[in-house]
Symmetry: D4
Subunit: 252 residues, 8 copies
C-alpha cells in the first residue's frame, strides 16, 4: 500500500475533511480493484517489490487480458505465465511493449530496465529439456532488474561440465538450478558455492520420476545446507525469490 | 579451500620445489581430513561460509565426538543437530564453550559472536508445538552471526495474531516460518512482507498430516511468490539459508 | 418415502384389502422406479429434502435425459452436474425451464423459488480459477432455496482482501470456501467467523498440487475447528450441505 | 473480540482521552495474551462461540497447564484433548471441576451447562474400537451445550443394526459418524437422514487401511450428498462443527 | 495339458518309439504354440477350465487377430477384452459367431452354451456408471457356462434399493459387486449373504477417488469377512473367479 | 435371523396376540444383543454360516471377554484374532475348550468338528516368515469345518519347490497363498491350478515393500485370472472365504 | 577423456609452449562441445565405453538433429530413444546408415559391428505388450557389440513357458527381463540362472498397476538375490548395463 | 542341482534299477530338504553360485539356527543378515568359524577364501551413516571371493571428496554406491566410471526422505546410464550382484 497516501487519508478523516464511508472506500481502493472475477492488486508492488504476476492457466483469455489491462496502468513491468501465443496477440494490442517468449510460454512487459541487484543471478540446468523452466526463471529475474547468467546442460552424470563453470557460479549472488529426473544438480552446485541455491524440480523424466516428484524429493533432501526448493516447474517463483535475495536492501 | 595456500603450493610445484606426489598430498589435505568413518571437511567454511554442521542421527556417539574434536580445532562456531544430552556431556569435555539447547536437541559452540548480517532475521511459528524446529533455525542463525527476532504462536486461524506483528515482520531482511498441520502461515507472511520467506514444514499434526507432508505440500503450492521451502523439520537448513541471504555481500 | 401413503398401504394390507404381493409391489414403488440402467429415486426428496442430483459424468446422454425426464415429473427443482451443452439442449426439449450455466458446466431446473433458509450462505474463492467450482456450490444452494453471497478472489497471499469482506462473512449462517494450490483460505475464514465453514479443495494448481490433493490435505488439517471438507471439486456437495445447515429446522 | 469494549476504546482515542500507543496496547490485549510460548486467545469465544481447545500433543505438561490456567479465568467451559492422566492431575489442582475421560483421553471443564442447541446430536460408531474418537466428539458437543445420543457398533456388514436405529437418527438435527476400516457407515446414515452428517475417519484397521486413509477416502467419495469430513481421529472437530450446526441462530 | 496325450507320448518315449528330441518337441507343443510375438497357450483350458482371454490393450490389431485365430481353433468360447469395434470387425471375418458388446468393449465368441454352474451368479452395481465393468463380469461368467442375474444401481446412499433385492442376492451361489467412489456396497452385500462376494472397484468418481483407489481400499478393508477383491475395473477377473466358485466340483 | 421364529412372531402380531411394541422388541432381539460397547450379533451364523469373529485389536480385554462370553452361548465355534495370551487366560476361564495358537496370536474355540467342505483347502506360503498369517487362515478354515493341507516355504526364487507340490495343489478345491516381498507366488500357483486362489499379502519385507503394499499390488495385478485378494495380513478373511467356496451348496 | 592428448597438453603447458588460457580452452574441448542448448560430450565414449545416447523426449526436433550431427562425427554407433519417425527422416539425411525401429521408437546408427562381449545377453518378456521396451534393450545391447537372444511372452501364470527356455537362459552371461502388471518374472528367472538379472518394469497394466509402479515394487522386493532394477520402461538402461557386464574386462 | 547325480538317477530309472516313486523322491531331495518351517535349498549353490543367505528378520531364533545348521553342512560360506548378537552366540556353538559384524548386524561364515573375481569391487558411501548398509555389501562380496575397496563419506555436497578417489573407482570392475537423503552419489560415480554401478538407497534421512524412498527414486531416475538399483538398505543384494558381475565367466 502507498503509505504516504494512506497517511493523508487518515489525517483527512481525523480532521473530518473526509466522512467515514468515503474514507473507507478510498482506503480499500488503495489495496485492490474489484473487476468481478478478480481483485486486481495495485498495492502488491509495495508489499513485495513487484506487480502481481498473472498466472494464465485456468483463466479465460478475456480474464487474462482484463487483468493485464488494469495492472499495466500502474506497473511498468509485468509477466503472464502459463499462457499461449493467442493471448499474447491480444495483450500486445493493449501494451505494445509486450514480448512473447516461446520456450517459457510467457508474456513479458518490461518498460523499466533499471538494475536493482547487488550482483548477478546464475541460472543453471541439468539438461536441455529443463531449459523452458529455467528460461521462465531467467526472464522473471531480468524483469525484476537483475543481470542473469545462463548455464545450460551441466548435469551430474558428466561432472566435469559443471566443474568447468565453477568460477562463473562462484561469482553469483544467488544460483537457480533447474533439474528433472533425479534432481541431483542443486546438491553439487550447493557444495561449490557459498550463496543460496534455489532448486527448481522439473517434470522432465519418465517412469518413476512421477512428473517431477523424484526430483522434488531429491532437492528437499539435499545434503547441501544452502539449498531451498520451490514447486515443480515453478521457474517464476525461483526467479522471484532470487531477485529478492539479490536486491539491494537497507534496514528500515 | 584456502586459496592463498593453494597458490603457494602450485608455485612451488611449478618451480619444482615440490614433487608431484607431495604436491598432490598437500593439496588434498587442504580439502579434508580422512578419519576412517568420515572425511572431515576443513574447507567448507571457505566454500559455504560456515563449518559443516554435524548431523547426529545415525552416527555413534564416538563418531560424533570424534568429528567435533577435529572440526573444533579449525572452526570457532559449530553445531551438532539431532543429538542428545549424553553426547553433549562428552562434547563439553572437549570444548568447554559448548551449550545444550533442550527444545531443539542441539549442541552449539559459539566462540565468535561477530555480527555478519545486514539486517535481522524473523523466526515465526504457527503454534507452540512448532517451537523446537523454529529454535533450531534461530540458534543456527545466531551461530552464523545474525540478530534474530522470535515470534511464536501466530497461526492463521486467529489471523489478528500475525497481523499484530506486521511491523516486526516487515522490518526483517528475511523471514523463517515454521508450521505444521496445514502449513498456511508462510503464505500469509509472504503476502505481508517483500523479502524472502523460508518455509519449514514441521511434523506436528495427526491423521492426514502424514508427519508433515500436508504442511510441506501446502508450502510448495504457496500462492505467495516469495516463499521457498526446506525439508520437514529442517530448522537448521532454514537458519543456514536465511543467514546467507542476510549476509553482507560484495561482488568478487 | 411418502409416509402417509405408506400407512394407507399398510392398513389396507392388514385389513386384507390388499394382497401380500401387491402390497409389496406398491410399497417398493414408493421408493424408486427401475428404468433398467438406473433406479430413479422418488423418495429422496423426503429423505434428504431435495431430489437426487444427476451426476452426468460416466453416463450416456440418453441415460442422463431419461433420468431427468422421470425425476422432473415429481420434483420442481433439479440439477445435472458434470455435463455438457449438448445434453442441455436435449434436456431443454423436455423441461423448458432448464438453464445452462457454462462456468459450472451444470443444468439447473428451478421451478420452485421459495426461500427455505434462516440466513444467507457466503460462497468464497481464493482465486479466479476456483470460480467454476464455487459457482456449482452457489447454484446448488440457490436451487435449494437459499440466498447466496459470492466473494471471489480473496486468497491469503493478500490477506487484506479477505479482511475487507469480514463483515459480509460474519453475517452468513454458513460459509463455503473453495481454494486450490495450498488451500489455506478456509482456515483464515474459519478464524474470522463463528459458523460452520465447508471447505472445497479445487484441482487448480500444478506440480506438487497433485490435482487438488495439496489443498485437500491442507483443509483436513485446518487449525480452525469449524472447518469440514468435501471431495476435490465437489461444489455440489458443499452447496448441498450448506443448504441443510441453513434450513429452518424443527424437532420432530 | 468484545465489540462494545472496542468501540469505547476507539471513541476515547478519537476524543484524545487515550494516546495512540496506549490505545494500540489495549486493543491488542482484547485479542490475546502473550505468555511467551503461546498467544492465549481470549477473543475466540466471541469469534467462534467457544474457547480455544488446548491440543495437548507436542506441548510440555507445563505449557498445557499454563495455558489452561489463563483460559479458565475467562471461559467457564474448556477442553484439553490428546492429553494424559498426569496432566489431568495438575489441571485439577487449578480447576477443581475438571473431569478426566479415559477412553477419549480428554480433560473437560464444564461449569456452564446451559442448553444451546435446537435439537439433538446423534453420535454413531461403526465398531467398538471407534468409541474413543466418538466419545471425544460427544464430550465436545456436550461441553458446547448440546444433548447427545450415542449409538455404538452399527457397522454396515450387519446393516440391520443401523436400520434398527433409524428413527433415533432421523430425529437428530445433525449426525456424527465415526468409522475405521472401509469407512462406509456415513454413506448409509447419510442416505437415511435429511440433515448434515459429519464423517470422522478413525485410524482403526490394519494393512491397507493405512492408519485411517482408506476410511478417509471412502468418506470423501461418499455417494451421499449430505456428508462432510474432518481429519482422521478428529472427534473434537466433528463435535465442534455439529454444535455450530445445532446452535440457535439469528440473522445479525 | 491333455494328460491322456501326454501319457501316450511318454510311453512311446520309454518304449523308444519316439526319440528324445522328438518327444520333447511334441510335449512342448502340447503346452503352447509360439507365433513370434506370443506363446499361444492351448493347455490353459485344461489347467484353468477356460481358454486364455486376450487382453487387447497394448497389442496391435494384427497381434490380437493373430492370437484369436489360433485360439479359436481349439476353444469354442473366447473373450477379447479392452478392445475396439474395428478389431471386432476383423475378428468376425475369422469367426462369424463373434459378438460385439459395446458397453463392456469386449468381443465374445460363445459356441458352447452348456451350463456348468451349480447355481446362479449375481452381478450388482452401485451406480449406472459402473455398468460397463459389471457387464464385462457378467459376459465372462455367461461365456463360462453360468446363469447370471444383473442388479444395477443399488448403491448404499439409498439403502432400501439393495434391501429390496435381498432375496435375489441370497439365492445366488456367489455375488460380484462393482462400485466406484467409496466402494461401500460390497460390505453391505457381504453382510446380507452367506456366500463369497467378489468386489470389483471401478474407476468411477473424481477428485480423491484417484481412479478407483478409494474404492479399492474400501473393499480391501471391508468389515464383511466374505469379501475378496480384484483389480480396479477388472470385470473379467471377477467373472472368471465367480465361475470357478460356481462350477460343479468333484474331488480328484 | 431365525426365520421360523420370525414367522411365528409375525403371525402372532397379525392375530393381535402380540402388540406392536412388544413385537418390535422381540424381532429386534432376534438380530443382536446390545451390551453397551457392542451389538453382539446372534444372527450372523445364519446370514454367513459362521459366528462373528472377534477382532481383538483396539478393544479392551474386558470388552473382548464380554463379547466372547455372549457369543459362546449361541455358537459352538469361535475365533478371537489379533489378541494376546493374557486375554486367552481369561477366555479359558469362561470356555474351557479355548486353545491358544501362538504363531497366529489367535484364540480358537472349536466344539463342533463336523466336516462341511466338499474338498480340501491348500494353504501355501512363500517363506518361513509368512507362516503366522497362513496359520491364521488355516486355523480359521479348520474351525469352519474344512480339511487343510499346509505347504510352507515354496517361494518363486526356487521355482522347483512349488512345482514339487503341484499334485497336492491341483487336488484342492481352493488354494490360499500368503506371500510378502514381491508377492509373486499366487500368480504361479494360479497358473498351476484350475480353482480359485485367494492371495494374502503379508507385511514381511523391508524397504520398498512398504509393509505389504508391494505384495498387495503384485497380487492385484496378477496375470493369473483366478486370483482374488484380501487385505494385508488378513489370514482370517482368506480362511473364511475359502471355507465358503469349499462348502457344500444347494440352490435354495 | 583422451588421456594421451591430455598429457601432451599438460607437458606443453609446463614447458610454456602453451599459455594458461589456451591450455585451459584446449583441455576443456577435450571434454565437450557447447552448442548453446546442450554440451555435446565427446569424452563419454572413453568414460563409459559408449557415446551418449540422445534422449529425444522434451527436446525439439532441431535440437535432436543438431546433437546427433555433432556426435556422429566422433562416434560410429549412436542411439536416439523416445523419438518419432519424422525425426528419423531428418537424421537419415545426415547419417545414411540410420535405421528406424518402430516398436521401440528408436533410431539406431550402427557403423561398427565388432563383437565386444564374452557371452550372450538374453532378453525376456512376460507378455506381448512388453516387447517394445524389451526391443529397446535388445537394440541397445546389439549396438554395443553383443549377441542377443530374444525370448517373448513367458510370463509366470503359465510357468511351463519359461521353464521350456531354461537352457537358453542358463547359457547367457546376463539376462534382461521386462515385465508389467505384477512384475514377477525376474524373480523366477533369477532363481533359474546364476548370472545377474536386470529387471525392467514396464508401464503395461491397468488399475492398481499405477503405470508400472506395481511391477517396479515387485522387482525391488524380489526374493531372488541376483536381481537389480532400472526405471520403468527404461529398456535402454537395461541394455546398457547388460553390455557393460558382458564386456571383456582387464584390470588396469 | 547336481547334474551328474541327476543323470545317474535318470539312467537308473530308465534301466528300471530304480522305481518311479523312489526316483522321484531322490530327485526331489537333490533340490531341497524340508525341515517343516522351511525348505532348505542345497542346490542353490549350483543355480546361483552361492548358498542361500538366511534373512533373519521375521524368523524365530530357533528357525535361524536350524536352517544354518543344515546349510553349513553343504556350504563352506554362509551369511545370516538382519540378525542379532544373541543368535550369533548360538550359531557359533554350531559353526566355530562364525564371525559377528556389529555395524552390519550380520553373521558370516567364511571357510573358503579362494579369490573368484577378475578385478576389485569398490564400495562407496555418501555419508558416515550409510556405512552399515555398505558394510553388508562389502562383507557379502568378500564372502563370495572378491577383493573389496571401501570408500566412505564422499557425498556430492563436497564434490572434491569423490573426485579425489577417481582413480580408485576407475580401476574397479564394478562399483556399489550406498546413499540416503537425495541419493545423488551413484549418478556422479556413474559418470566417472565405465563399469556397472549398483546403487543402494539407504533409509538414512528424515522428513521427506520417507525412509529411503527419496533416495530410491533418485537412483531409479539416474541420468547415468550405467546405474541399476536394489531395494532400500539391501546391502546384501548389492554385494551379491556385484560378485556375479566380477566373477570369472566362461561360455558353457
Amino acid at each position: 500500500m502507498d503509505l504516504g497516501r494512506l497517511e493523508k487519508l487518515l489525517s483527512a478523516y481525523k480532521k473530518d475533511e473526509l466522512g467515514l464511508t468515503e474514507a473507507a472506500r478510498q482506503i480499500s481502493e488503495l489495496h485492490f480493484e474489484d473487476v468481478g472475477y478478480a481483485r486486481v492488486d495495485h498495492s502488491r508492488a509495495t508489499r513485495q517489490g513487484f506487480p502481481e504476476v498473472v498466472f494464465g492457466a485456468g483463466k479465460t483469455r478475456e480474464q487474462v487480458v482484463g487483468i493485464v489491462e488494469r495492472l499495466a496502468k500502474h506497473s511498468p513491468n509485468l509477466l503472464v505465465t502459463h499462457t499461449d501465443e493467442g493471448t499474447f496477440g491480444e495483450v500486445r494490442n493493449i501494451v505494445s511493449e509486450a514480448e512473447w517468449h516461446e520456450s517459457a510460454r510467457l508474456i513479458r512487459i518490461q518498460r523499466d530496465t533499471s538494475e536493482l541487484g547487488v550482483g548477478e543471478i546464475a541460472v543453471v540446468t541439468a539438461g536441455t529439456s529443463d531449459i523452458p523452466v529455467a528460461e521462465e526463471a531467467a526472464l522473471t529475474a531480468e524483469a525484476m532488474g537483475n543481470r542473469v547468467k545462463r548455464v545450460w546442460d551441466v548435469g551430474v552424470a558428466g561432472i566435469h561440465r559443471v566443474l568447468a563453470e565453477r568460477s562463473l557460479l562462484q561469482s553469483a549472488r544467488v544460483a537457480i538450478v533447474a533439474a528433472g529426473m533425479e534432481g541431483a544438480l542443486p546438491s553439487v552446485v550447493g557444495g561449490l558455492v557459498s550463496v543460496p541455491v534455489i532448486a527448481v524440480p522439473t517434470s522432465i523424466g519418465y517412469g518413476a520420476s512421477f512428473g517431477g516428484v523424484a526430483a522434488l524429493l531429491g532437492m528437499l533432501n539435499s545434503c547441501a545446507s544452502n539449498v531451498t526448493v520451490v514447486n515443480i516447474d515453478n521457474g517464476f517463483g525461483a526467479g522471484f525469490v532470487a531477485s529478492l535475495i539479490n536486491r539491494k536492501w537497507e534496514p528500515v
